[in-house]
Amino acid sequence: MTPSAPAPDEVGRDEDLGRSVAKTLWADKAQRGVISRDVFVDTRPTNVLSVDRVDHATRDEMAQIAGEREARREGNRRFRGWALVGSVSAGRSGRTVTPTPQPDNPYHADIRLPVPADAWEEVKQEKRAHGQELADFARWESAPQE
């Protein structure tokens, strides 16, 4: 597969950002029309959410990147699809979006939440509120092979 062009250094206002989903639960609920809040909640002590800048490569290329990423995780998980959120919605309520290309994913970006980076218990309700808001703005797109 020929790689697509590099993604721009800034995230555009009309970009879609994809939060990849591997859990059966989340994929099943999304296919019923509800993106689970937890798709956009990371319970680890971090204030960033990893997303894919899906508009800068073919869907097959993005799905290959996402599939390989999920397969490397514990449990050899299968990529099921993306919860897609527009960059403007992602950047509401004090959140910011920054391109953070990775060696294995040049289309990687971070949604940074306005909460401390080193906590979970103290900020879990704030993180859940951001997750719910992002989920409300998101729409589901199944993986090409689904």
């Binding site: 059966t24 639960l25 509120a129 808001e133 989920a135």
Partner: protein
């Protein structure tokens, strides 16, 4: 989505399937108290026209009402220790109420948020 009480049977069936997802995805188990309280809440909220989805979340249970055509929702999270939290995201604003006893739900806050959510369409 169906209106009124019509969704209750589906929601209770969905609650009965949570163990499938807990096993499939390796999620933390959900205790009996949270399950029983979630079922009671579903029954109490069944006159509401929006059908919820029910799912496990970090050992708790979530009842998630999403507005059909607006970026808005109401999430009630029931813990096995008897507590509950309600998150509302409506008209671009987030509101939250915490409860030491989930048996206090649904209260005026929840019903008011549900009313607003329903009126958003």
């Amino acid at each position: 989505m169906e209106a009124g009480h019509a969704w209750l049977a589906d929601a209770i069936a969905e609650l009965g399937r949570i163990d499938h997802y807990i096993r499939a995805d390796g999620l933390p188990d959900v205790g009996r108290r949270a399950r029983a309280e979630t079922r009671r809440l579903l029954e109490d909220l069944s006159p509401q026209p929006i059908a919820p989805v029910v799912y496990p979340s970090e050992g708790n249970l979530v009842i998630h009402f999403k507005a059909p055509s607006a970026p808005a929702s109401l999430v009630i999270e029931v813990s096995d220790d008897g507590r509950a939290v309600c998150h509302a995201h409506l008209n671009g604003k987030s509101r939250r109420a915490s409860y030491d006893a989930s048996t206090d739900l649904p209260d005026a806050f929840v019903l008011e948020q549900m009313h607003e959510l329903t009126n958003l369409g």
